[in-house]
Structure formats: structure tokens, C-alpha cells
Amino acid sequence: MKKHIIKYYPVGNGDTSLIKLDNNVTVVTDCRIREVADDIFDVKEDLLENLEKRSGIPYTDLFILTHPDNDHCGGFSKHYYKGAPGKYDNDKEDHADKIIIDEIWVTSYIFRDDLCDDATYLKEEVERRQKLYISGDPKRNDKGNRLVLIGYDEDAKFENVPAHIPGDVVTEINGNTLENFSFFIHGPFKKGLVDAQAISDRNASSIVYQARFLDENENFLCRAMHSGDADHNRWELIKSKSEEKSNEDSLAWDIFQAPHHCSWSFFNDTPQAENVTPKESSLEILDYMETNAKVVATCKEIKNNEDNPPHFKAKQEYVKKVGESNFINSHDHFEKHDLPIVFEINDFGHTLLKKSLASATGISGGTKTPSRAG
């Protein structure tokens, strides 16, 4: 039986998720890696444990940047490699244990000038790769040089760069056909990108996709919906377009990552106090849930106050749909189970992993370093 993993790291208000397929293909979406401290999970260490290595260098097959906000690319420059893959030198302090990205997915919004330092670092890498495509350099197809544009090429900067647009089903990444897995691209639509530019709202430019885990007969085992910080307007459009094209399959979900760190913006405009009623289309999106579906809120602790994100009332709306026990908050889950939110996906669907009991019993006897004896 094949076993895939999808993992949402506890990074406060921010996103880092990892998909690891049975054949060890990895997809990382967004980056928020903070300095490790007592109550901060070591995301980098966990990534290095999970990512494959090529000639001793860790790499991911695919990195998706939903949008260039700091809570989605914080720490990127410290942990990801920039430059020609052949020049990586593990002995260089600046390179050590940096992750090579074989293929990058970004939107055209990456070429804005008003980006944070980490986003700018990523932009420079995208530029390097973009030049290979423009010049038709054969190295553009090498792992570590590949680039894919998601959505509309607003400023025509991605000439010759391959692109996936909303409605596409992606079955190949990094030059390889995916096994038992595909993506359905939902966004951004052109409107989102234009709006984002017009009002400098990066969230509107978010990449939205449905990750599809399939069995040997191409039946869905699990569908996970990731949408960065997309708001209710983006989702309304996604819903109407998908329904218009009878793509209901692409709306169904087993795992729904609550957009924008469980913000009210998925349900209506903010502040919530002024827009208390959730939009019908947002609630209908949630009705596409499958049996035992889970909402994943990657954010800090959700307190009963007016803070946003995460927003308490937003959580309540999700809970109404899936039930309290199917709403999983990355902060609470980490606190209780010492784990990121990890789902194992196999022929029986998805299973949320919890703290192992073994560590508390004799099974671990002798396997840990004991304290010194006097």
C-alpha cells in the first residue's frame, strides 16, 4: 500500500507545508522558518529529514510560492539556495544545508519592486532562471533551473517560461510524471493579479491549487485545498468558474487549509464587526467537503477576541461545518502532540497523526541517552 504524507508546520501566523509522495517526490509550499527556540518547532531540521539528497545536497522537486508576503517566504534566503545548481558548495558556510529547488512555481507578482528581503532574494533567483528561458539556454531544463509561471503573465516578463493556468490539471513536475498524484490549478485568475497590482494587495495574487492523491485506479484518496491568503472574492470566482465548467471534482476537499491563517477574509470583508454575515459562496465552498474532512488552520492560538487573523468567528464558521474535532489548529496540535499537523494518506484516505504513546512506555527503554550517573 502506498503511503503519502502531507504536513503543515506550526509556524505561528504563516505557512510552510510539505507534500511527500510515496516515491519520495517532495513539494514545499511557502516558507516561514523562524529562529529555533524552546517553543518553536525546528522546521528546517524536519525538512532536511524529509527531503531527498542529491550528491549530499538536499533538494525539493518543487517549491510553490503562493504569494510574496513575509509570512509566506520568511527565512527563505537563509534556507534555500540561490544560483546555478552546479556552483553549490556544501563547504561554503553560506551554502551549507541550503535546499536546492528543482522547480519553482510563482506568479507574475514576483517582479514587484516593493518586496521584503526574502521575497527579493527569491525574485533574484526567479530572474536568473527566467533569463535561461529567454535566451533558450539548454540548462533551463536542468534540475535547479526550472521555472513555471502560474496564471497570467501580466507584464510579459515570462516569455518562453512554461505556465499553468486556472483549470489546468498538472501531472508532471520537475520533468517527471507524478505517480498517484496531480494538481488542479484554481488561481490566480487574471482579475486577482490585476486587483493585487491596483490595490497593492498581494493576498489577491495567491496561487490556489487542489492537491489530488489518487489510488491505482485514479480514484481520489484525498484532496487538499491550498490557497495561500486568497479571500472570499477569489473563492467566489473559483467556485463559479469551476461550477460553470462542471469541475465539481476540483472543488471537493478532504483537507482545507483555512485561507489567510483562518482569517475572516475568507468569509467576508474585514473587519468582521462591519461584515458579520459570511458570504453564501464561501459557505458553499465548505459544503464541498468529503466524509471526515478536516480544516487545517495554520496560525497562532485562536483566542476569543476580535484579532484577525486568526479570527475566532471564522473558526466558528468552520467548526459549524466540520465539527470541533475536525478543526485542527497548528499551534494547538503542536502543543498537545509535539508534532506538526501530519496526515498520512493511503488507501484508507487520510489519517491525522498524533503523539505516539511509545515514548512514554518501556518501548523506548534504553534507546535514549540517560542522564549521568554519579
Partner: protein, 734 residues
Amino acid sequence: MMDSTFGKIISKSKLKNNISKRVLESISFFTSTIELLEIRHLDGIDSIIVEYELEVPSKPKNDIREKEKLAIVIQGDDKIPRVLALRDDFPTNISHINIKETTHPVDLCLYEQTFDELKFQWSAPDFLMRIKKWLESSSTDTLHAQDQALEPFLMANGLIYYQKIKDGVIPQFITKVQPNIYRLVDANEAVSKLMTERHEFYHIIFCNVEKLHGVVNIKPNNLFELHNLLLKADIDTAKLIANYVDNIFRSDNSQELINEPFAVVLNVGLKRGDNDTHIEKNDTHFFKIDDSISSVAQKAKYLGVHEGPTIVPIVGAEFNIKDCESFSVELLNPQLDFYYFLAGLRNDNTKAQDIKITLLGVGALGSHFLENMIRQGYGKWKIFDNDKLLPHNLSRHTGVRKDIGMNKTDVLAKKVNEQIFPAEKIVESFPENILDIDDDVQSQIEDTDYIIDISTSIAVARRIVELFPKKRKLSAFLNPTGTDLVLLSEDTDNKQSLDLIEQQYYNEIYKNKELQNHLFLEQNSRIRYAQGCRDITLKINQEDVSTYSGILSKAIKKSISSNHGGIEIWSFQEDLSIAKYNFDLQSWSKYNSNGWTIYLSKEFTAMIETFRKQKLPNETGGIILGGIDVYSKKIYLVNSILSPDDSIEKRELYIRGISGVQDQLKKLSEVTNNNIQYLGEWHSHPQGCSTNMSRDDKILFSELCEEAKFRGVPTLMLIQGDRDRKLILGNYES
């Protein structure tokens, strides 16, 4: 409900049993998984109510949820706590549930042993983990081991063993084997055996259903309860009994048959999904009623008494099952019978089950070896031996006294095919001598995949090389004192046949200092590994045979699963450890001369080539050592006594000396049991010279031929040159 079942809520200080306190303390270690809800107490029984948070998948096979409320019921410190799943719709159609009077709450069966067995190791954390594992595995239906009998821990009154019920085959009777031990008998056996031997037997009233939810997890106490229980599966027990009674009255001996007791047997064909047509497994449940079918039917007013003792049906009567509350029903704990497939499955030999093997020789080692293999479900066997079992064989053979006088192959075939795996033809007996088999038998052997020779006969080993050159052959034997086991195996492509391996084996023991006594038998000058077993009866005992038959079956399984041949020797040491010697097979070159085939081992040719080079520019030489098979006209060159010290080595002259030769030949004869001997002479020619015989060589050769006549064997002369060598055979016959 909670109050009446588990009693009032109490504080933890009021817990009565020590185990309760241990469980409660452990729960506090597992806060992320187990939430303590309540502690209750009723009549000495503590109940700890908890909620488990589980790792269960979104599309489970059985409806176990991420959160399950359970009661851990502690009945005392000498009992395993019971674990009850409290959800009203907790699934009941899963394995490992204890049978009780009601379906809910479902009683989890966590252990297969009794507390007496478990108490030395039982720990509360492990117990709590086991509950988690039980629930999580049940959600994906992976708790049940494939070969495991169902529900081994139910409250049954006896045990019944049975072979899997095949589709469409209705079992006929249950027979009592021993008190509380029963066996299911199928139609064939019932007709042929049971009726003539008049065992105590039970009629079977059989019903077959395809799906059943929870029904069999309730234990019915009497016949009426059983009837009500089976009604849930649309089975009308009253009607089934009535029909069965009607059938009895159609037979001639109805008055006898009607006085036997009966059992209701329920076969449940389980499918993976509701829409599946394939039945994945059959679960069988046995409900035994010790009263006669007659007394039950009379009580139900279906039968009556007519003219004294004669029992007759009452015309137009209904079967009043509700009157049958007084007939108690006993559950029998079903256990799968032991049959060949299961034997293989339990030992990971399912793939090896159909390997066809010819086994030559079923004496002491062979009989033990065969039992090792068949009891683990390995292979289908054709066994050959023309020996009969005699009283002295009882010291080591697996046969028993009543087998004396039978052919050994028949003894084993009978034991395996009748007493261990009845009705399965695992072993085919050929009580004949492999040395004179006819074409038909030969083609039967040709039809098998491997030939294993444990005949301890050189004649047999050599004969099979002639008869079955393409078949992979393995030969095993004990040394004369029983301290060592030898396994010679050909590789898959038969590059080195068994006779070549045998010759290499002699040479290896000759060369190895630790194996110098391997073939040595005290007080006996005529020692051969292949000599008649009677000569060595007193030397080898059951413990040697037993030890080495176990090693041999392991070694042969390993050898068959790989493609490599080899020579393996196991040898008991003084401290009772066993040393192991492995020798890779070496390659051979082959010459034909005068109707003889001459094989030269690579080791031999390399040895003389190297030695010649060392002595250049002078000539040198030595004695050729090896084996000879006069019957098959084969000569094997394996070793050499290199130029003795008193030899004369000149540029165009070589005279072989004799210093030490006699001692070496004597030792050779002792160590190899005369299997390696003097075969002739070799010498080298200088660089640039041909390997044709010189004048001196011709004189020498005719001398050798003269001498060979006295020995009755051919002689050999070998001339080694730069690149080639000449081998001349002097045939004593010509």
C-alpha cells in the same frame, strides 16, 4: 445506564483494585491520547471511563472514530481488565471481540493468553497502548493475522477443529475426538469411516449466510435464544431442525439417527465490500446441543411416541421452538485444522509449497529431514528407498514399532498422507532401488524440480549424475561417526556435477587441517561414508541425526532459494559448538581418451603450472592424485605430490624421487578414505619445447602401463609445457 452497569461515580482514592490504580496512573502519562472522564464502582468492580483520541483514517474499513469512549472494567487483581466500547453503534462485525450475551457495549478482546500467563509482564501503559493499537488496527481491518483462528478467547465450552469449509461442500457430522475436543467431518469421510467405526457423533444442521452484523458476538444460552439470534440473519432455526428431522425419517435407520445429539453450524462468507461477489473468508460458528434431536423435537411437539419406543412425526405439527428454552446451547471454540497450505503459510513457505522434490533415501537422516520439511509445508515429495524398517532402525528412524517390516517409503508416506495431512497427497512412495528404475519412474523423477540424495550411497550419487544431468542435485550425508554433516550442492546451471563436487570435497578435507579426522572411523580399516548403515548403527545416534536433520533442512531451503552450489560441512566441536566450513565450487577442464573421461580441477592445473615455472629452466614433476570411477570410466585429477626432495631435476631430464611419498600416500588414503589415490606421473618440459613424448618419456610410460596392470586401473602421464599440456592415458585393458 452508566449507573446500573458501572455503578456510582467515586473518587480515585476509593478504587478497590491495585490494577485500577496502576491503570489510572498510566492514563495520566498519556494526556494527549487518553482523557479520563469518570471513575465508577459497583460490587467490587472498578470502572474507569475514558476517551481515546486515535489515529484512524478518513475512509476506514470499520467504523472506528477518531474519538472513542471506553470503559476499562477492573474485576480484580487476578484478571485482565475488560475493555468495553461504549458507543451505541460501535461496529460488531470485527475480529477479536469477546462473545457475551448482548452485542453492546462491545467487549474488546485484547490478549490471547490468560492472565496467569500474562501477569509476569503485564503493565498498565502497555495495556493502554494495546487498546489504542486494537482500535486503530481494527479501523483498517488489519488486526487479524491471516492464519489466526477467529476469536480465540471466547467463552466457549469446548474446542472444534476443522478444515476451511469449501464453497458448496456441506459438512456432515461432528465427531468427538476427546472430551471437549471435537472435529468436523466432511461428507466423504463420514461415509467411509465414521459410520463404520461408530464414533460418538453429532448431526449438523448447517446454514450459510453471506453477511452478518454482530449476530455472532452474542452468546445464546438455549435453543430458543439461538433461534432468535439467527432470525436476525434471516435464518429460521426451527424450520431447519424440522427439515432435518423430516430427512431423517426418510432414511431406513431413522430410529437410531434421531437419538443422536446435534449442532447448529453457521458459516459466514465474508466479503470485502458490499458489492463484492468474491468471498474473502469464511467464518464458521458452532452451537452444540447435547440433547438428542429426538428429545428436542418431541419437546417442540414435532415428534411423538407411537407404539412403545417408536418415535414418529406428528402429522401437520409445527416446530414449537419457544418450548426449547430448556435445551442449553454450548459454543465451541473453532480452530483451524492443520493442513498443508496453513503449514506453509505459518512458516513463510507458501511459495515453496509446490516445489517438486525427489528424495533418495529415507533412512535415519532422510526420515527426519523429510518431516522437518513437510511439517512446515515445504514441497511436494517423491521418496525413494528400497529398505524395509527393521527393529534396529527404531533407534533413529521416525518410524515406530507397528511399521516394522514395511518399506521405509511407505512408512513415511502413510504417516504424512494419513496421520499428519490426511487427504493431501504430499508424499509419493517409491519403495524401489534408484539403481534399477524403469523409464516410467525415471520420467517421474524428471518431472520434479530437484533431486536430493540422502541415500549415503556413492553408487546412487553417481547414478543420478548419469541419469539426470540437467536436474539440479544436492547430496547430503553424515560422516561415519555422526559428528559432521556434509552437503554437496550443484548450482542451478549444473556447471559442476555432483561427482566433480564429491571429488573436490575429498581434496578439501585432505587439505584442511581441522578436517583430518572427518572420515575416520576407529577400529575399522574399511571406512567409507557410503558403507552400509548396519556397520555404523552403533556410532551415530538419534541426537546427531536430530541436530543435523534440522541444520540440513535449513541449509537445503537456503540452497534451493539461491542459485549457488557449494560444499558445506558442519562439524561438532568438543565444547558442543558446531563449526562450519564452506568451499566454493571450482571449475574443471575435461579430456576424452580411449573411452575414458578425464577431469582436471582448476586447482590441479594451476598448481603444476606454477610449480613448473618456479623450477625453470629445469624440468620438474610429481605424482598425480585424484579419484577414479572404473564403472563410469571417469578419472578426476585434483592434487599432486610435487617433486620429492630426492628428485633429479635437470634441463632435459627429470627423475621423480620417493622421499616421503609413502607417508603422504598413506595419510591421503586415511584422510580421504581412499577416495584420492595415486593416478600416475606428471613432469614438465622446458621452455620452447613441445609436449610430445621424448624417448625417455616413452620408456617411462610403458613402465607405468605395466605397473598399472597390477593395480587393475589405467595410468596417466601428463606433460606440462609452456602453454599446453599433454595427457596420455595408459589403459590397462589394452
